[in-house]
Amino acid sequence: MAKQRVKFTFPQELITLPIIYELGKSFNLVTNIRRADVTEDRGWVILELEGELEEIERSMQWVASKGVRVDPVQGDVIEG
């Protein structure tokens, strides 16, 4: 089993959709939310995913395909 920490950033039009619920139902993963900030026009959620590595990778592609931005928890690590 692997664990991965990720940050989801939701555009306004996706905020009301139960994407994390669907993620847990559609993939064999445990989702564990640690920190979040969601208002009516924006939102981000930092969570840990636990499951097989391939399942995590497939699930991240699915989340990204929905229009949610997926990043490592520390944000961008590329620097000038």
């Binding site: 950033t9 930092i46 931005r69 490592p72 520390q74 690590v77 620097e79």
Partner: protein
Amino acid sequence: MSYARALRCKECGREYPLDPIHVCEFCFGPLEVDYDREAQRKVVSRERIDGGPPSLWRYRDLLPCDADRAVDLNAGFTPLLRAPNLGEVLGLRHLYIKNDCVNPSWSFKDRVVAVASTKALEFGFDTLACASTGNLANAVAAHAARAGMKAFVFVPADLEPGKLLGSAIYGATLVAVDGGYDDVNRLCSELADRYEWAFVNINVRPYYADGSKTLAYEVAEQLGWRAPDHCVVPMASGSLITKIWKGLDELAKLWLVDSVQTKVSGAQAAGCAPISNAWQAGTLSVRPVKPNTIVKSLAIGNPADGYYALQAIGESGGSAVAASDEEVVDAIKLLAESEGVFAENAGGVTVAGLKRLAESGRIAPDELVVAFITGAGPKTQEAVAGKLAEAIHVSPTVASFEQAIGERKGVVSSGG
């Protein structure tokens, strides 16, 4: 010895030992170094600092690593130049340029990597690594060479060849990753979990980031131990502006300066301005963007410290601005022609931002202002190539020279 006492979560305040970790296990918030202030106050003085070396290691008591075993290329203690000519153009009577172009690998990243590489050796790592678009990669490669460490530098595959050379020359392993910034970003985050390497801006980031504070220390010392009224700082991850603000605050807490009323303002390129956009929208929530600018050294679309940068700007009474690529190029030329400092694109962002802040009255004419120029122009010559006056070609005779110079003068005078 160091007076660092623990790592502390910026979000929930939980403390951790001084290990190569960067994220709180509880809330996944970022960790930063916490110091024993009482012990520091007993030791640190202006005289002790003045007796130190002419490098960032003069602030050894304020850094999170053991300076006796420093990876030392003499980074830091760069010139603080009074800038009367640029000040006159911008209507600022007390303008200074902090010229960090003159660091060992020609950018301020030598400060953070000096600290990160020293700490990495303390931890027992034999390999330094980073994800970068240029300046950080150069600094990591140079310091790894100095320390006798291996270096792995990850860059987007479409990076200009000239930027790769500045790392390859030091013997670093260059890894050109197919894909965009997001792909390199994701890959390096995963590799940091998998390999026993010191990724300077991932697993040793808390120590790395504290190297930035030396910019603030130096400016205050070079001004005769006083804090400036206003700092203008380029923003990418947002870490630098946060640490300059924190560095000034620390000096006051250590009684090295009387009080700090400094406003910190940040500048970004309009093609990648998530922090400035949030500031203009009046929110602390940073929305990620896809970078589209010539200023690649600041092209961070989802800045790790954006929230904290906005807090520092807000608490200090500063502001955030964004400048177009055209303004950046004009500002690079303006700085070079007025003060003799050739900055890379990020320096153009600083000066273009400074110009906007001065024109809009957000910097008053009598404020003591410091503009931070963080990297040297020869690294990004393509930004101004083709936009400067061409050389005058002459035969090796006086007559040829005088004819050519006459024609050039004619062009200048007829052109206005």
